[in-house]
Symmetry: C2
Subunit: 436 residues, 2 copies
Amino acid sequence: MHIILLSGGSGKRLWPLSNDIRSKQFIKIFKKEDGEYESMVQRIYRQIRAVDGEGTVTIATSKTQASSIHNQLGEEVGICVEPCRRDTFPAIALAAAYLHDVKGIPEKEPVIVCPVDPYVERDYFEALKELGEIARDGDVNIALLGMEPTYPSEKYGYVIPQDKEKVSRVVTFKEKPDAETAGEYIRQGALWNGGVFAFQLGYMLEKAHELIDFQKYEDLYAKYESLDKISFDYAVGEKEDSIKVMRFQGQWKDLGTWNTLTEAMEEPYVGEAILNETCENVHVVNELNVPVLCMGLKDVVVSASPEGILVSDKEQSSYIKPFVDKISQQIMFAEKSWGSFRVLDVEDESLTIKVTLNPGHKMNYHSHQLRDEVWTVISGKGRTIVDGVEKDVEAGDVIKMAAGCKHTIIAQTELKVIEVQLGKEISVQDKEKFEY
Amino acid sequence: MHIILLSGGSGKRLWPLSNDIRSKQFIKIFKKEDGEYESMVQRIYRQIRAVDGEGTVTIATSKTQASSIHNQLGEEVGICVEPCRRDTFPAIALAAAYLHDVKGIPEKEPVIVCPVDPYVERDYFEALKELGEIARDGDVNIALLGMEPTYPSEKYGYVIPQDKEKVSRVVTFKEKPDAETAGEYIRQGALWNGGVFAFQLGYMLEKAHELIDFQKYEDLYAKYESLDKISFDYAVGEKEDSIKVMRFQGQWKDLGTWNTLTEAMEEPYVGEAILNETCENVHVVNELNVPVLCMGLKDVVVSASPEGILVSDKEQSSYIKPFVDKISQQIMFAEKSWGSFRVLDVEDESLTIKVTLNPGHKMNYHSHQLRDEVWTVISGKGRTIVDGVEKDVEAGDVIKMAAGCKHTIIAQTELKVIEVQLGKEISVQDKEKFEY
């Protein structure tokens, strides 16, 4: 089974846990059997691996997410990086070219595309396998998963099947309707389009070449920025007559809002929290290292992160986006491929951050024009290079770097550093990278 | 008018803004006409000064609060420091001895004692003046303010007056009753005991000498720790027959819980907050530098500080104490006479704090046995002394102090420093002070 996982954009609907550089799929919110927590992307990757140890998993994602993916899934995971965001059709076309031209997967092989963020169980992955087999048969060009609708949602597209069989031909696609029309579709036997489909790799390459002028993967990658934003449903799905839909009745939760996300939580809270006995249907996700105390609340979600604090009625939480759009704020926390950083203090002419480097990782060798920096190593062992001079460092060592000086730090063990930035104009743009 | 302001203990009822070393009276929550915020103690001190520029104001408080009081009211404010907590009778006795023996106030002068935390307007201070005049007349030994009760509260003691005149003799005191008994008292014309009373200084000294064996202020101060904990009401008030009560009908809010505190707030929030249009009767007090977003809440208070986050139904917030008692946590923020500190990061073998020194102030000259420290000056100018070596410092300077070395920093301007503490056992107890 070859799977393309679409790891989407910078959802603000789960603020303060998601932001411009941290998407909901990276939030560690689901308790595993061992008591540790995992994120959506870790959960789905683990689930796929449990069902199918053989096939390839390729995560189609943006540059900005690549480091978070490596950080959470390791260096070996297959990633097809989009140079910029161009919606699902270009992303799938690029991933298809990647599988064929880079990974050498034959054109006859079925490929399954699915989003990274539904909350599902093992039966879902069994269904993906079946979907792949329908695509392998070659009877139709596309096989998709139709979710049995539970209410006339306005959030989903609808698929109208020919009959009530488990697998049937698709008569037509319907765009996201209003609630009344959705009710009508459901009475006609329509299913939700969950964005999961399978096809033979050759079919998708053919569609890609029809709509985009390119030769091979590298070529497509190079011209990616010039492509139009267009969804797979619009570019291919709705124009294709040869489609089958397979009904899926198992658990499938779209974790797009706090309301649905908290439904998938095993326990009322993640992180430090106290809920008194008068709390009812309250969920807390607390990433700060101080406690959250909740008293006398009903149907409320509380989430605290270095970015901010949300306290919302669960229903109301769906309307969060315009409010978060108004909050323009410095990124306070980020996971990178090499580790993570957290902003500790912001002053007019200084910024203090804590940097955690994973063992064996390093920063880029870089310099700043307009700021001095001071590192105080607080734990671990490593090596610094400052203007070409190498030095072993450990907890307690202090390194001063004047503006203009080239510097990096390499972690031997996990290495934690307090970095104080000092200057009149401190900006993430003020950074020049060098080879060493 | 000579006023003794009783600045009480470490209320946990307004957690996370109040804690063991930071009491509710120091929270800057009330908006002044100039748009700045002031605390309870700042508000009441400003109000007293507006009504009476002449008399003395002496704040009776504990050692732990003295620095916060100086920080908020300046160095000149009169403080009578209790060496330890011994309830209101010893505190008032000590303050009376202080006024007489240290300040030289004659025994015939009336003194008014009142708590620091009611939310009141100008008429309250006019009433205090009148109360002082009743005490000056010498017709009775104690004059107290009786608040017209608005409901049968179980929180207050009750005073039963002889008649319905504005000023009348007190028949009896009643301890905090249950609601039913309180209702009965109110039908009998009882008033709330608001803890405000006036007496001639000589009377209080006489009572103090009756109950405590001491000579002068210094003597009482020295033996303070050996005194029994006993309230003024119990030790004096309830045993005294010669008492008058003056009715007070003006605004008088006891700001002891989040419920009552938020009622006194001019605006729905202090600090960074967004409340969407579906919020009703919601108050936010946010001391963090990230936003709080509230959606669809009703009758809720949200408070965020470096100590933690409270989200509570307003009614329920009165029951906070046992939950806060369970939270045992490092102090994350404190105001001191010399400035303030805030904990930025806690690791197993390091602690990173930000220290702000007020201009002209300094730390004690001190050393630690079990930790090294690194200072990075992030703003301002000052002077460090490390093992006797003095040095001028400014933003960007780094000072390393090994365990055992004696050190201090003196602020010329406001001075901010990032201090990284490094060691296997970091504790506030590990500190030895020296003269320099």
